[in-house]
């Protein structure tokens, strides 16, 4: 009995962490599909969201919800700037210059925040004013509950947006065939800008949600992004479902292995899982076995 509650406890924590990876991985995949480029600054979207929250809530003393909405708006504006500053000037080039550009943006953002906010990690209050609830011997931390609920809601919203609205269909059309989309009169540049905005807001939410657990720090984005990237490969590169399932799976694997094998190697398990997938199922969980898109 104790074994079961212990593992349920770990499963819960793992799903919470995995949700964060899933949100960032989702942002990755949306940008990969729209621009064919891996955005190396994706993790820094989470970092910036966290710092925006710290600034508005701790720094300026805004009420939590107002600060939260302010952080999301700030991330939306940032998404526009990122699109026009990092991607747009290079949009007619191959994927490599754009990729390098996102890498440069990542370094620039981290150092800018370091300069402005200093190296100390910042604490952030939880969203809810209670520690958590105990259910059948399993302690459910309130912030983890918030993370899980928010992730489910965001995934559901993303599904509705992309599958049920014409705008979502235009975004998909843009990611599938840009020239054809332009011939139909779809404003492709605007569609890609919207993708960046959406992706930046998703990342920002992940940062605000995970802030109370991991502290808000300069490097928080890097490690989350690496694991989220591993999650997109495990789930199936460029696959939306895969990003979410891959993220959750990584969170659970990581937590279980940390508990049963060794805690100091916590960050290594995600990459061990990545290696195993690359060796035995390189196309990922939902990916199809193709070498290159036709």
């Amino acid at each position: 009995m104790e074994f079961i509650t212990e593992n349920l406890q770990i499963l819960f924590t793992g799903l919470g962490l995995g949700s964060i990876y899933a949100l960032v991985a989702l942002g990755f995949v949306l940008i990969i599909r729209a621009t064919n480029v891996v955005n190396f600054a994706q993790g820094d979207f989470a970092m910036l969201g966290g710092y925006a929250m710290v600034l508005f809530f701790t720094g300026l003393g805004w009420p939590y919800w107002i600060a939260f909405i302010g952080a999301l708006l700030a991330m939306a504006v940032f998404g526009v700037l990122f699109n026009y500053g990092v991607y747009y000037p290079l949009r007619h080039r191959s994927f490599l210059p754009v990729l390098i550009s996102t890498l440069g943006a990542s370094i620039f953002l981290q150092n800018t925040v370091l300069y402005v906010a200093g190296p100390q990690p910042k604490p952030l209050d939880k969203l809810l004013n209670f520690d958590g609830i105990t259910l059948g011997g399993v302690f459910l931390d309130s912030q983890y509950i918030v993370i899980l609920v928010a992730t489910v809601a965001l995934v559901f919203f993303t599904f509705l947006f992309f599958e049920k609205t014409l705008l979502g269909k235009k975004l998909q059309a843009t990611s599938q065939d840009k020239d054809m989309a332009r011939l139909l009169g779809i404003p492709v540049a605007l569609m890609i800008a919207i993708t960046f905005i959406y992706s930046a807001v998703l990342g920002g939410i992940a940062g605000v949600l995970v802030g109370p657990i991991l502290f808000v720090s300069i490097g928080m984005g890097s490690i989350i992004a690496l694991k989220a990237f591993a999650a997109t490969i495990i789930g199936g590169f460029g696959d939306v479902k895969g990003a979410i399932v891959g993220g959750l799976l990584l969170g659970v694997i990581e937590s279980l292995a940390a508990q049963h094998i060794s805690v100091p190697y916590k960050d290594a398990y995600a990459f061990l899982a990545l290696f195993l997938f690359l060796l035995f199922r390189p196309q990922g969980i939902f990916g199809e076995k193709v070498s290159e898109k036709a």
């Binding site: 269909k169 599938q176 020239d179 054809m180 011939l183």
Partner: protein, 241 residues
């Protein structure tokens, strides 16, 4: 005033000159066909009209106003619908979604009206009705071509550009397709049709041009073109790829 007029248009593909001073015109309500061998510049002509290729020289006038400096999105909004070579169906969207997006050049039309228009398209193209909710990539070549034309019509185009609609299709399906092109034309839509299948194209056209390595060589009615020895030898006598 012609609906479409190209004056001395030159276009490049990288360093290769694909069009060397092409001048042509399409009148309101006409069905004009552009014939020529592979690599003659037929597709480049259409891409230059729809804005995918920017001409290095010359003018493209649509309803009397120059459009050759506009991007494809802006040109689509003026009422030119380009159904490109290879159909270019969105593989991951359903047949109905592909059709709905055809109206992306028209601003502010409510979704409900678009759905009704899509239903109308299924009566014009009954062969794709049963695949309404199937993903684009699952269709056969003929079905994809029907879908591409249906999507092109959702733009309510003043000018429809059709690039090699018969390519890779079985003869019976080509017959069916040209029947549809005749019916579209009968509704008053102006069409510029690029074809390698010269016999089929001339059977529906009012007028035709022959394009050879980037230059227009012959212009005339189908009767004149069919009577022209050179044209017959080059495009009508031989077999079609």
């Amino acid at each position: 005033m012609p609906l479409l007029e190209l004056t001395n248009v030159a276009s490049y593909y990288g360093n290769v000159q694909a069009l060397k001073g092409v001048s042509l015109h399409v009148e309101q309500g006409e069905l004009v066909t552009l014939l020529g061998a592979n690599g003659a510049g037929k597709s480049t002509t259409l891409k230059t009209i729809s804005g995918l290729v920017v001409p290095a020289q010359g003018e493209v006038l649509f309803e009397g106003r120059p459009i050759h400096k506009l991007g494809p999105e802006a040109i689509a909004r003026l009422g030119i619908s380009h159904v490109p070579e290879g159909r270019r169906i969105f593989p991951g969207l359903t047949v109905r979604e592909n059709i709905l997006l055809g109206a992306s050049n028209r601003k502010g039309v409510p979704r409900r009206l678009l759905e009704e228009e899509a239903d109308e398209k299924f009566t014009i193209f009954p062969e794709i009705k049963s695949f309404e909710n199937a993903l684009g990539w699952t269709l056969s070549g003929g079905q994809q071509q029907m879908l591409a034309v249906a999507r092109g019509l959702m733009a309510k185009p003043k000018l429809l550009l059709l690039d090699e609609p018969s390519l890779g299709l079985a003869p019976l399906i080509v017959q069916n397709l040209f029947g549809t092109i005749r019916r579209i034309r009968a509704t008053g839509t102006t069409i510029l049709l690029v074809e390698q299948n010269a016999n089929m194209a001339l059977s529906v056209a009012d007028r035709g041009y022959v394009l050879e390595t980037g230059t227009l060589t012959v212009e005339g009615t189908p009767k004149e073109l069919l009577g022209n020895e050179e044209v017959r030898a080059a495009y009508l006598g031989g077999h079609h790829a």
